[in-house]
Symmetry: C2
Subunit: 235 residues, 2 copies
Amino acid sequence: MSRSIEVCLTPELVHLIDFTDKLVIVVDIFRATSCMVAGMGSGIESITPVATVEECLNLKKKGYISAGERGGVKIPEFHIGNSPFEYMQPDLIGKKVATTTTNGTLAIKKSEEAAEIIIGSFLNFNAILEYIILSSRDVIIHCAGWKGTFNLEDTTFAGGIISSMSQLKSESDASYMSRILWKKAKVFGLEHLLMNSAHAHRLQGMGIENDLQFCCQFDEFNIIPKVVGTELQLI
Amino acid sequence: MSRSIEVCLTPELVHLIDFTDKLVIVVDIFRATSCMVAGMGSGIESITPVATVEECLNLKKKGYISAGERGGVKIPEFHIGNSPFEYMQPDLIGKKVATTTTNGTLAIKKSEEAAEIIIGSFLNFNAILEYIILSSRDVIIHCAGWKGTFNLEDTTFAGGIISSMSQLKSESDASYMSRILWKKAKVFGLEHLLMNSAHAHRLQGMGIENDLQFCCQFDEFNIIPKVVGTELQLI
């Protein structure tokens, strides 16, 4: 039987999908998983995603770099916020980071029934494709979305991965729609499409246009962060 | 403040949307709401949507015509199944119908916080647009989906309505995506697009191609079925 690849449009729909034995790719393009890829691709030793600010502060006391946001804004007591450029600072090389974000952390947590959880973004797009090809598992792309709702950037990423994996079975309407978005991105430009997203509009005026543009770059890093126990490690 | 129009992609996401004071349009193109519009446009007096087969059979004992399906198949003890042609039979004129379907009935039930619930389909597309224009309420298009998941046909309908209502504010990514689907339908033809849907594939071989084609027709009926108490009535 041929392998399958599907998309979970938001963490609110996980109960409709069987994650057992699956390879799950968690994606939160703006900006959690893009940060994770940028950071680990730049030398951060490990990233521990946690659900709450309190857990993050506890890890800070144990020597972790604390990172994250609520509503797109850095938490005051934290070392860094949720910008990929902050994650790429040279003084973070070899450090352990604890992070909490609105949507991305939740999507990782809600994927825990899966056999493997890896972290996807446009920044490691080809690495993800290669990992899927070498795997023998069925695949789910788990979109972090925005506070439980559908978002454009994560679903377009899913469409890109699914479109590149035409040898895998993918029969749902969500998958079909994601491939339509991907085609649209190819015609109009990914950055152009995503700058029309609600998230990009929300973040406008917060001085992070550079972040969003960076998150739309392909294959800056040839790495796969993977969930191992409670943290992300490179494989 | 300008009025807004939004889309709820599946009944599983209703908790993320405030239905209070809203005008809600429930849509289940294949085939529940198309049947409701076809039936009431052809002379059925009222339709009572119920959640279970048992409730439907109880109403049958009280003289109602019983209608509905599970998994796309007619329930043996029922008078009719879930085909718009069955709903348009002349011997149903003036009759009361009780119906239960997999997705459509649930979407109506889950909209009950709304100020008004009306029934949408391509068959009464323009009537819906006129009703929205004359209303002063914010609007939610509630897609019935498929067993809780996203579907193409209901979301494309939402995109069509939202695209025709550009004077209303609509800022979510779900709305933006639905308008992309609608544009796709306009370029390639609605029927062509929807025949690629997972639902159309599922229903293939069940001898209901005519049903699906009929559900893709525009403006066969200039009516609005509305939820009044426990039943749908024409307004």
